[in-house]
């Protein structure tokens, strides 16, 4: 499903070079639920952005669902993000002042889904995340947990190959965080591949596999509870 080999990312600010990722390789198979952990500044967000095709690696190869993402044009990347990746942001990133339904329909607008099908699809996924009674609420009238559930419905609506979540519970109270994690576990049981970033251990416990990153390198990787040290 996902195969990254020898990925590096270097940021250049003026003449100072900052290495965010150095020579990272791993594979994620279909149906996995992976948590990527690490302290802030470890490069886990950068890795997530590269996985989500929101940013390009400086070096290395990224193959998603059989396509070499690191060699695609800007427009093709837009298509990949639209069809194959569902991204859940820490800050939800909903469009304000429009309804939950319209927010969930937005990827379908760009994906060329026929107009008639959009509303039904959006409604289905909103019901799935437990917001069937909030379809016509403006996104900014919803609580943080509700907004994140709208964002999850939006990430799922194109039926992507992989769902990426960047600290999905980072801005949310812990009771609602449990609900969100419940949704991810349910999705995983239904066969969705999920990669999630977190720095909270109890959130990471919901995943089946945990990858630890520090200073742009993978430190440990393995099944939840039985992690192997990785030598770089």
């Amino acid at each position: 499903m996902i195969k990254i080999s020898h990925i590096s990312k270097v940021y250049k600010m003026d003449s100072v070079e900052t290495v965010a990722l150095s020579n990272i390789s791993f594979e994620i198979k279909k149906g996995e639920f992976v948590a990527i952990m690490g302290p802030s500044g470890s490069g886990k967000s950068t890795l997530m952005h590269i996985l989500g095709a929101l940013d390009l690696p400086t070096q290395g190869e990224y193959i998603l669902d059989g396509e070499n993402v690191s060699r695609l044009s800007d427009d093709d990347l837009a298509g990949i993000r639209n069809r194959k990746i569902g991204f859940v942001f820490q800050a939800y990133n909903l469009l304000p002042r429009i309804t939950a339904l319209k927010n969930v329909m937005l990827p379908m607008v760009y994906g060329g889904v026929p107009k008639k099908e959009r509303e039904g699809q959006a409604q289905k996924y909103l019901e799935m995340v437990g917001l069937g009674n909030r379809l016509h609420h403006m996104s900014n009238q919803l609580s943080g947990g509700q907004q994140q559930r709208v964002a999850i419905a939006r990430a799922l609506v194109m039926n992507p190959a992989i769902v990426l979540a960047d600290e999905p519970t980072g801005n949310i109270a812990s009771i609602q965080a449990e609900e969100i994690m419940g949704i991810f576990q349910k999705l995983n049981k239904e066969g969705h591949t999920i990669v999630m970033i977190t720095h909270e251990h109890d959130i990471a416990q919901h995943a089946k596999r945990i990858i630890h990153i520090r200073d742009g390198k993978i430190v440990t990787d393995g099944k939840n509870g039985k992690q192997k040290k990785i030598k770089n």
Partner: protein, 407 residues
């Protein structure tokens, strides 16, 4: 995503954030309205000044008796009696004269004018009916001297507003009243419209009477003080001057133009003034248009740059959800176009309204030219669309995560 969907999406975005849309549209409205109003006022001022200058009579030639070069002693202009009614008649009737439209023989002199209680020393001028055309005299009330007044030596007079207010008081209609000029009693039949001016050129401090009455009854003379000539057009002034000059030379049995006993003044000075005033105003107008376009344009540029740059995060999000660069740029172009079309239309209405109010407030003519409206709308729309498009294109060229992180 086809075009109609893009339009629906753009309308959606514009109506969702009403404050932002309103502010951007307001910027465009103010920009376009100010350009239209400024150009309109400039044109009105220009029109007003040129028409004031032209009302002095740009096509006017004046024939005066006497020569500045006769003998050792130069006589005062007008102190000679060589110009006659017959000269004027000849200019009007001669087949050699092709460039003159109207001939106005005149005799004028200052004299005391009295009513029962008031009196004033003013210019009394004997005229024929065509005088009002040649010198562009218009009447506030009553009528001008007619041919019948000439033929029957009627004791009638038309007065200027200054004479009227001196003799009868401010705001009193003098028509029908009587006054005395010399020993004769005259009935006032008309009041002229104020033309301004001062001193000897003051066209408001004047009394018009029939020419033969002035010559025979009031002053007892048989010559003319001047002949006013109206050329058919301003371009023919030099030709007209030559034709009239040769005709009068031959009538006065003179062969050498240097010994002429008359002089012809053209209003070339006035013409020069008119054309230089028009030139100045054209330059002024261009300056006003350029400055107001610049100011309006910068206003529009700022509001578009700010509102679109503020949406960099939104552009990043839309890209993350699968929007292509082309669709994003198209959406922002459509939004900017809609804003400028709506803002431009409102701005045009507002601009016309402002110039209407201002022109009536400061009593200038109300002039709206299609060119100024087109200029304002085309330039402002171009700026609005350019600076809506440019930041959108810049943001959509970023990697989505860079746009999303934009502060």
């Amino acid at each position: 995503m086809d075009f109609s969907e893009l339009i629906i999406e753009s309308i959606g975005t514009l109506t969702v954030n009403k404050l932002r849309t309103g502010l951007a549209a307001l910027g465009i409205v103010i920009g376009i309205a100010s350009v239209i109003a400024l150009i309109s006022l400039g044109q009105a001022a220009s029109e007003s000044v040129t028409s004031q200058i032209q009302s002095l009579g740009a096509n006017l030639l004046t024939v005066m008796p006497g020569s500045p070069r006769s003998g050792a002693v130069r006589g005062a202009i007008g102190g000679v009696t060589t110009l006659t009614n017959e000269d004027a008649q000849a200019i009007a009737e001669s087949p050699q004269i092709t460039t003159i439209k109207n001939v106005s023989p005149e005799f004028s002199r200052r004299i005391q004018v009295t009513t029962g209680g008031n009196n004033t020393n003013t210019q009394v001028i004997g005229v024929v009916p065509v005088y009002s055309q040649v010198h562009k005299i218009t009447l506030t009330t009553g009528s001008f001297i007619t041919q019948r007044d000439i033929d029957s030596l009627s004791r009638v007079a038309v007065v200027g507003p200054q004479v009227a207010s001196t003799l009868f008081g401010e705001g009193v209609d003098p028509v029908g009243q009587t006054m005395r000029i010399g020993s004769q009693t005259f009935t006032i039949i008309g009041l002229t419209t104020s033309k301004g001016g001062s001193g000897f050129q003051n066209q408001d401090d004047i009394v018009y009477v029939p020419l033969p009455v002035a010559q025979k009854v009031i002053f007892g003379v048989n010559y003319l003080a001047s002949i006013g000539l109206e050329a058919k057009s301003a371009d023919l002034m030099v030709d007209a001057q030559n034709e009239v000059g040769y005709l009068l030379l031959s009538r006065h049995n003179l062969s050498d133009p240097g010994s002429a006993d008359f002089m012809i003044f053209s209003q070339q000075d006035i013409l020069n003034t008119v054309s230089s005033a028009t030139g100045t105003f054209t330059a002024l107008l261009s300056g006003i248009a350029a400055i107001s376009l610049l100011v309006g344009g910068i206003g529009i540029m700022n509001i578009m740059l700010v509102t679109v740059t503020e949406r960099t995060r939104e552009i990043g999000l839309r890209k993350a959800l699968g929007a292509t660069k082309r669709i994003l740029v198209a959406q922002f172009l459509i939004e900017a176009s809609m804003l400028t079309i709506v803002g431009g239309f409102i701005g045009m209405i507002l601009g016309i309204f402002i110039s209407y109010i201002l022109s009536s407030f400061i009593s200038l003519p109300f002039i709206i030219s299609i060119q100024s409206i087109l200029l304002a709308i085309v330039v402002s729309s171009a700026i609005g669309i350019l600076f809506g498009w440019y930041p959108a294109r810049k943001a959509s060229n970023l990697q989505p995560i860079e746009a999303l992180r934009y502060e």
